[in-house]
Point group: C2
Chain length 337, copies 2
């Protein structure tokens, strides 16, 4: 009889707006849904135990790693990683480094997670720059936006690796066969682009093993024209934040419009259930967190305001990542060139 492998996930119990309560809740939700999951909670032992008390879960599969420090979101990341050795992020990442955990999830400081991931966990040999690659919702489902990380001004060879790694992730974690890869550009024609895109375009065109469909204009992103959206991190950051910001502002204005008259208020009540269902498909929280890819283990950054469901989804993301042997597939791809 083959024993199912257990999957060990470390959580930053202290990161995000709703820590440690929602982080602990998310961990229990995931454990109770899948008995192969083991959890390490890094954070203040007393606070975590308080959240755990009275909750139904398998104690043999949960461990607390006591952390005396917390890295705040406003702290300069490099300095924080260097000096706060007993923080939940540094200790949590250490668990991957030691091989004790397969993945680490944090809703805390993005900068510290990105820096810590690279410095403490380390890159897969051959990976030039580990990209942060969130899934963004589209009309057609979801697309991987790669890269939204902290290292800007990428070179063409970085973008080519993003296309390769992103394709492996979308095919095996999200389950999109032969995912379409597009490069963000300021027009559809091949002669369009800034210096970086113009240099990268022919490299992607001749790159084996990816399904390159050419340029994608920003207006086509919400339509889901490409499954893997390749871009430099500065542009990726603008896309991600504008996407979230425009959605939030529009929904706010729609709510305001629906409350503007008594008649509209009545209508809003009738419209609500159908609308909620449709808009749920456009909620980034459904997709867990943003993976930092190309490291010796999986590091996932969830939203700062993540609640239990998002944490649970991020844990399942780690499970899928391990079960589908994503890193082994990335290594094989790099060996082939």
């Amino acid at each position: 009889m083959i024993m199912p492998t257990s999957i060990n996930v470390a959580l930053d119990a202290m990161g995000g707006d709703h820590a440690p309560g929602e982080i602990v809740k998310g961990a229990i939700l995931a454990m109770n849904q899948n008995e192969n999951i083991k959890i390490c909670l890094a954070g203040d032992k007393g606070l975590i135990e308080k959240e755990l008390s009275g909750q139904p879960y398998d104690k043999t599969r949960l461990e607390i790693i006591h952390a005396t420090e917390v890295i705040e979101t406003a702290e300069p990341p490099v300095m924080a990683i260097r000096t706060k050795k007993n923080s939940s992020i540094v200790l949590g990442l250490g668990l991957i480094k030691e091989g004790k955990c397969d993945g680490f999830i944090s809703a805390g400081s993005t900068g510290a997670v990105l820096v810590g991931g690279q410095v403490l966990v380390g890159r897969i040999k051959g990976i030039k720059r580990p990209p942060l690659a969130p899934l963004i919702p589209t009309e057609a489902g979801a697309s991987l936006l790669i890269d939204c990380g902290a290292n800007v001004d990428a070179r063409p060879e970085h973008l080519v690796q993003f296309a390769q790694i992103g394709s492996i992730y979308m095919e095996n974690v999200v389950g999109i066969k032969n995912p379409k890869v597009g490069i963000v550009n300021n027009g559809a024609e091949e002669e369009k682009g800034n210096a970086l895109v113009k240099e990268t375009f022919p490299l992607l065109k001749s790159c084996p093993g990816i399904n390159f469909i050419g340029s994608i204009e920003a207006r086509e992103i919400p339509q889901g024209k490409a499954d893997v959206i390749v871009c430099e991190a500065f542009v990726g950051n603008v896309i991600l934040k504008l996407y979230e910001g425009t959605g939030a502002t529009l929904l706010k204005m729609i709510k305001k419009g629906m409350m503007s008259t008594t008649m509209a208020k009545i209508g809003a009540l009738l419209v609500k259930p159908g609308l909620k269902k449709t808009l749920k498909a456009f909620d980034t929280k459904e997709y867990g967190g943003a993976p930092l890819l190309g490291l010796n283990g999986l590091v996932v950054k969830t939203h700062g305001n993540a609640k239990a469901t998002e944490i649970k989804n991020a844990i399942f993301q780690c499970v899928q990542f391990k079960e589908q042997e994503i890193n082994e597939k990335i290594k094989a791809k790099l060996l082939k060139g």
Copy 2:
């Protein structure tokens, strides 16, 4: 008695999805609302006369410049401007060059309008790169997104000029006193940014005569945090198109949600009037077109699907530009350094 100066606006009667019908209608709307406006319609004389026949307007203030050619949106712009000397765009831009018209408006090929504007009309002395600067709707009103043009990979000194020109435009055409200038960045902290932003930031900080508020993250754009949003054209293009694309997709999904059940359909009818009013504020068409600034005259690019109201608003934009002596103010600013 001081005679009011007449303002002469040239229109590309052949450009856009609804030409020449809606272009001609827009011209008549504007003329009938302001008797100082004179219009030159560049395009096929026969087609234009057909649209004009039976419409009420002052014939002494309208002239047709017969154009035998049309530049299609798919044509390579440089070649089109060079070879199609009798096109509505080339003839229309020629009217500014000759000093016969103050502004030119086209709903046709963006590329041809941008190239033609620079090549045929010419830059104000001292302008390094003429930016395309559309107004985008926000929660707070509207912001000027400068630059969204065709020339990418700008240098820091270009961005500083964008900030100066954009401030003059927002103050005098849109009427925002001491407009707030922000530079698009991937974080709020001063050490954030790509090479271009890092080099530009101190230059903006020490630039006299602008109200620089520092970095603006993409999620703050829809909130209207800055009145003048400075960025390089590739990034500007991504912002503009993603803004329009996300809005369109979200509204489509909301409509779908409102039609998903009978109850929702009834609700939708009640919600509609209030919602329509709120969302009108978020409609780019209310703001006329995108001006190409820094030229010896005003060139305005409207949406390809512009209808009469948008054309009329673009004509009023030219009136405001002339009356507020924007180019004289830009020249004065450049002289001061």
